[in-house]
Symmetry: C2
Subunit: 210 residues, 2 copies
DNA sequence: GGTGCTCTTGACCAAATGGTCAAAGTTGTT
DNA sequence: AACAACTTTGACCATTTGGTCAAGAGCACC
């Protein structure tokens, strides 16, 4: 019967498919991260990608499919910095390195951060399953590691969950609220990230050193 | 010539106008804070307000006018907690009280916080003037106060701007990323705000105590 | 150089959406 | 009660938007 008409296949086969799906996702990231899902149109994305609208829909079956592909891609990398925390490292330094990695992500991938932020602010309609699953279990796991460190006396006693929240919020702030940060600091380029790194190092070092 | 046709006047005159404009703004806050500006429709707002769509447009000339009214109202109260910081108070306690006030706002007015967040994440298209004006000058002023406290030795040396950013981000996180926080903590009601208050008090107390 | 596959697009469609309007219903005042 | 002002709405409109389709262009392999 008439099955998948337009879709070439789940993943790119030819080089032209690979190039175009990448171009589309790149353009979609630009648009979605700036206007949110509902605020973005296929025409905008098509224009940004330099393709026609029907051509977009040749590679992706729908607008939500593009968004989903983007979110899926994002969620894979998003948790990497947290995964890298190692239980047998030096506690304070492990956590400070994590802070720095997150801040680095905010600097290097602000669009991804905003895409994520847009999604969560609006109640995470499309990724609640991933948050309740993958994300929660990873956080639970690392919270236990932190509790272990505290029990061993190598770390000042803190609530590990709120610690993680405060690391997320302070670092992502520089990506998600970039417009505000820039309006207030008027920095040249990314200069303020240096100061942010120094500030956050001090903040969390004082918090965590026993 | 044919001027303001539908609008009763800039501000409500009759009690029925007052009641309805309030109802509309209340409903619009619900809708806008949940779906963002572009993601919200007049029909949604009308339905939430229990009015017909043309009736909305009798009180407000357009969708953006409703949004603007909401943002204007919000900006007035948003800066109050920061204004309340007094230069002749005890520095550490003044700042910790500010943290608590901001956290309280996140708990009491999460919709307002998300409305604001939605706006900033998307580049603050409608309020950049207010951010560059009112907000920036208030922050500059308080940054000077903080610098004064540091010079007097009553406060540990910190970058006042990044300090303020970290207070904003950590507190607003509980409103803006509520969906994520709840998915991870699974709290009953607002119980986690108590823990957040204790955590943030510790975090900033350690940071700020000389 | 033809045959089948991949890729591209102009024209089109149905639904949603912001907004208008004239007419009808309410309310307040004298 | 009557008159004017205020309030409400059903019907309507133009535009935008996600998505379809059939026909045409490239491309590859024999």
């Amino acid at each position: 019967m008439g099955i998948e008409r337009h879709m070439p296949g789940r993943q790119p086969r030819t080089r032209i498919q690979k190039k175009n799906t990448e171009t589309i996702l790149e353009a979609a990231l630009d648009v979605f991260s700036q206007h949110g899902f509902r605020g973005s149109t296929l025409d905008q994305i098509a224009k940004a990608a330099g393709l026609s609208k029907p051509n977009l829909l040749y590679y992706f079956p729908s607008k939500v499919a593009i968004h989903r592909a983007l979110i899926d891609e994002l969620m894979q990398n998003w948790l990497d910095p947290l995964r890298k925390i190692e239980a047998d490292g030096e506690p304070v330094e492990e956590l400070l390195a994590y802070v720095l990695r997150k801040l680095e992500m905010a600097r290097e991938y602000p669009r991804e951060s905003r895409l994520f932020a847009n999604e969560i602010v609006q109640g995470a309609p499309n990724i609640m399953d991933k948050i309740e699953g993958e994300l929660k279990s990873l956080v639970d796991e690392k919270a236990q590691v932190i509790d272990g460190w505290i029990a061993s006396g190598a770390l000042a006693p803190v609530d590990p969950y709120h610690l993680i929240f405060s690391i997320w919020s302070t670092t992502q702030h520089y990506a998600d609220f970039d417009a505000q940060v820039r309006a207030i600091l008027r920095p040249e380029g990314d200069a303020h990230f240096e100061d942010a790194a120094a500030y956050l190092d001090t903040l969390f070092r004082r918090m965590l050193t026993p």
